[in-house]
């Protein structure tokens, strides 16, 4: 675990130094939202999905510098490297969710947007959606490399969120009639997310152990 944590720290340092513009953009948009009180859907995507996708960015930097290859010649294992990226993805997504929830709370406290409007409530499902998409794309990124996986990522995100939107449309009326469905989804979604993430991590380790450079 010590090795994985060291890699994660290295990744965050790398991301912080390389992606200051992205962090600045997120912060700027959150300030704009707090001032204007509009655009929460874009804000939630920007905070949570982008937070999770920092793991791809990190993989991209590694591939460009050759670090993903060099590290395999050190005493770090392939498993350490893969799990480190999953931890970055998890931290980015949860961190994004926490930021989103905080912004929602501040918006409520300052009287701009009431909590009921859904921003805080969106943080959880949004984080789950992001982690599900990461669970699908990260094994592909470890198999094909990050550039090809980025294209697949767009497709996966579209399918997940379009699917979720479609389901919400179809099931919306049913949920209004049976509120227990919402409670059920609130329980099922995190469980499905954790299961998919664990399966994905296992698969990615197996893929990376066989990858040649």
């Amino acid at each position: 675990m010590k090795k994985i944590w060291a890699l994660v720290q290295g990744d965050w340092l790398n991301l912080w130094r390389s992606s200051k513009v992205i962090f600045g953009m997120i912060l700027l948009y959150e300030v704009i939202y707090l001032l204007a009180g509009e655009g929460w859907i874009f804000l939630s995507v920007l905070s949570v999905a982008l937070g999770g996708m920092l793991s791809y960015t990190s993989l991209g930097y590694d591939e460009r510098s050759g670090w993903n290859r060099f590290i395999l010649t050190t005493a770090y294992s392939r498993k350490d490297y893969v799990l480190g990226k999953y931890l970055v993805a998890l931290m980015g997504t949860i961190g994004g969710g926490v930021v989103l929830a905080l912004v929602g709370l501040i918006a409520d406290l300052t009287g701009k947007v009431p909590l009921e409007s859904g921003l805080v409530l969106m943080a959880g499902p949004m984080a789950c959606g992001t982690l599900i998409s990461l669970s699908i794309v990260l094994p592909l990124a470890f198999y094909f490399g990050i550039e090809k996986a980025r294209l697949l990522n767009m497709l996966v995100i579209f399918l997940i969120f379009a699917g979720a939107g479609g389901m919400a449309g179809v099931g919306g009326s049913a949920m209004e009639e049976f509120p227990s469905l919402i409670t059920g989804l609130n329980f099922i979604l995190p469980v499905v997310t954790v299961c998919l993430l664990l399966l994905s991590g296992f698969l990615s380790v197996r893929i990376y152990q066989k990858r040649q450079f």
């Binding site: 890699l7 290295g10 790398n14 510098s65 050759g66 010649t73 050190t74 294992s77």
Partner: protein, 280 residues
């Protein structure tokens, strides 16, 4: 003497290139130079040794263990410099040291710092802003800082000026003073290999063309400069390469047939065997 590297019947097939079969042995306590033209398979061989590629056939043992084992204990004993130094470009030397120290239980932070100082590596500059020479020096400092038993170096002196190269060869020379330490070194700068190597392995089109002790090879081969009639007088098997020039002919010959032949450098040996090989 046990072998630091033992390669047996190694084959790796690609669509347009096949490495091998390669048999190679680097005895412990020795330095082996891996030479060959671009595309001969040197980097592929090094990638196979490091477990970055998997062989289609054959076996590789490093320090008595299978190279493909993904064993952290084995990699702890190997210091590596790759042809493209792969450190994160936004990190500084000390940060790279810290990152590697968590991965290597035997990391000597003081040694890493002193090597960085010795190489005059700027501490506040990020790796991406280093020159090629500085990047190689940092890679070498990282390779040496965890007290490895074997160094595997792919073009470690590439991009360095002669003074820096000499400085680094001294480091390698000091490293090898302990009898349980070994180096496999690939380089196009054959004068560097002349200085430090005990053994030479010469790769050509994926196969080992020549392998042996450097001094033995230099005793075996020699250069004969003279008239065509002098060269033609030698038995056919004595002449391994022939170069025709306006001022006369030069031949790479086996010295046992021609004791008066002049000593040959590694560079001449490589050029004659590749470019002027007899019959080609």
């Amino acid at each position: 003497m046990a072998d630091a590297i033992h390669v047996n019947g190694l084959v790796k097939k690609f669509k347009h290139f096949t490495l091998g079969p390669v048999d190679l042995a680097l005895p412990q306590g020795c330095v082996m130079g891996l030479i060959g033209e671009n595309g001969a398979g040197k980097s592929t061989l090094i990638n196979l040794l490091l477990g970055l590629k998997r062989p289609d056939e054959g076996s590789i043992e490093i320090l008595g263990q299978p190279a493909q084992s993904d064993s952290a204990a084995l990699r702890q004993q190997i210091g590596v410099v790759l042809d493209i130094p792969g450190f994160p470009s936004v990190m500084r030397a000390a940060e790279i040291g810290k990152l590697l120290s968590a991965g290597f239980p035997g990391w000597d932070g003081e040694k890493f710092r002193s090597l960085c100082e010795e190489f005059s590596l700027p501490q506040k500059t990020t790796f991406g802003n280093y020159s090629r020479g500085m990047k190689m020096k940092l890679s070498i400092a990282a390779a040496l800082a965890h007290d490895p038993k074997l160094l595997i170096l792919d073009e470690p002196t590439g991009g360095l000026d002669p003074v820096a190269r000499d400085e680094i060869l001294d480091l390698f020379y000091n490293f090898i003073q302990s009898p349980d330490r070994s180096i496999l070194l690939s380089s196009h700068i054959l004068s560097d290999l002349e200085k430090i190597c005990d053994y030479i392995a010469f790769l050509h089109e994926g196969k080992i063309l020549l392998q042996g002790e450097k001094d033995g090879l230099k005793e075996t081969y020699g250069l004969l400069r003279g008239s065509r009639s002098e060269i033609d007088a030698l038995p056919e098997e004595a002449v391994k390469g022939l170069r025709k020039t306006e001022s006369g002919d030069e031949a790479l010959v086996l010295r046992r047939y021609c004791p008066q032949a002049e000593p040959v450098t590694l560079e001449e040996l490589m050029v004659y065997l590749l470019r002027y090989a007899k019959g080609e």
